[in-house]
């Protein structure tokens, strides 16, 4: 059994709203398709930056579970 390593505590310090605003601004003016593409790029980039496959996979599972239809 693998140990849970995904940290879901808040880690953005005083910059949480900055990050959220930047995300929303990045989607401004994009079509639904383009927005989905932007999200895909972001996820891949951040996953790579994390550099820990176990954490990335755990995050994928947690996020996926929230969407339902399993």
């Amino acid at each position: 059994m693998s140990e849970a390593k995904l940290d879901t505590s808040f880690r953005l310090g005083t910059r949480g709203d900055d990050v959220y605003a930047a995300l929303i601004a990045a989607h401004d003016g994009l079509s639904a398709d383009e927005s989905a593409r932007l999200n895909a790029r972001l996820v891949l980039m951040l996953a790579n930056h994390l550099g820990d496959a176990a954490i990335v996979i755990e995050a994928i599972e947690r996020a996926r579970a929230g969407i339902g239809k399993l």
Partner: protein, 541 residues
Amino acid sequence: MRYQHQRFPFVRPPDLNGRPTRAPVLIVGAGPVGLALAVDLALRGVKSVLLDDGDTVSVGSRAICWSKRTLEIFDRLGVASRMVAKGVTWRVGRLFHRDKEVYNFDLLPEPGHKHPAFINLQQYYVEEYLIDRARDFPELIDLRFKSKLVDIERANDGVTADVETPEGHYRLEADWLVACDGVRSTVRGLLGLGFVGRTFEERFLITDIKMKADFPSERWFWFEPPFHSGQSALLHKQPDDVYRIDLQLGPEADPEVERRPENVRPRIEAIVGDRPFEIDWISVYTFQCRRLERFVHGRVVFAGDSAHIVSPFGARGGNGGIQDVDNLAWKLAAIAKSEASESLIATYDEERIRGADENILNSARSTSFMTPKSQMERIFREEALAMAATEPFARRLVNSGRLSLPCLLDRLSLQSEDDPGFLGGLAPGSPCLDAPIIDNLGNRAWLLNEILGHFLVLSFGHPVDVPHGVAQLTVVDGPADCADGHTRVQDADGLIAQRYGGIPGAAYLLRPDQHVAARFVKPTAEKIATAIERVLGLEAA
């Protein structure tokens, strides 16, 4: 009983009898900002004429949440104890998504502050108490109701105002004019100045109801409330069994229709159930987050809503305006008394534009979160809210208002370079933090009550050399002995040492508005004098 609006009669001024006034400072608008400014100036011995076109305090409660920093400023002005006594102190906020609570916060910071994080108090009480306080200075504050500023003429050394009253017009000269005339500022219009920033289309129904209920003194905020078809709702308790209810209506709502009591009642019943209630005030708003490009225009200065306007989520409007006053009054007073060069006024622009921008940014983001514009923005919000119930990080991304905090003035013109010898404490530009003290008579008191409107050197352990005429307060660990003529206070709970990183022998130079101007691990009278000169702009060229 409902709040009784006292009417203030028009009093015929000498100007209408051929005896014109020249005011050192003319303040236009007796809202919270203009009133606070008149009191602050009076405490510094500066006379003002305060004009208001109305004859009573705010109709409708409007601002209800007043922050700790505002209460500290009001304490300096001599009105905070009344406000705290009357107000509802609160610290818990609960956030609901649909019918579930997803997050709650407790604002109670650390112990050892005189004032609570927030009180709720209707704006009409705040204005009433400020008017009462202004009446304590009959020689210094000339408060004129039913007196509307209708025109101004500007010169390099002052302003001539045209004032309209029930008994005719008169002209009034002033060295300085401070426009505290609110969001629809006449002065702004006369100068042809506009606001820059964002406006939001969304309409919000804001009402105050009177109701006997045992709801706790907490801020309750709903996204997609089960009882209301709009995007958000807010419920917040005020004194006198009055509750504030905000309901988001969407951009299409017709304000005329929504304002009708017969349409408001069912919306309220959906929230409060079958408890009987009375509607006290109803208003429908759209919000803006905007400001003037500059607040200082020669001898005309803007403060409060005339200078900047925000949506109410975060309670940054009135609180921001009171911080304008805190920043402006001592500067104007120092200039009026020739203790500072006139260039000091430019730093009001610099410092309060930083504050306004912070308030605008935070309020605009909260409003955006409540009013997603695109499908993707809605999806992000929906998922942040959905995750908030189980994933702690998401709670901090949910934005129902970021409550007013004082602005840091670090790295702006007036503050000296920080001394790298300090490891913690308050860097130049920080507002001072309160802490309990014990005075030389053994009484417990509060540090901020000792920092009252002039420059003060706060030293640690033992008194230090200060320039002639500069006040000093020394914080000591043991009993405060002032027999040698030096003022000492005891750090009652060790919190001053903690909050100021007080190294023995070190000293802070505090500005008249309780902000740190400079600090020194090894202070000398010369270093302190240089830091004061930097503020007052009087150093030899």
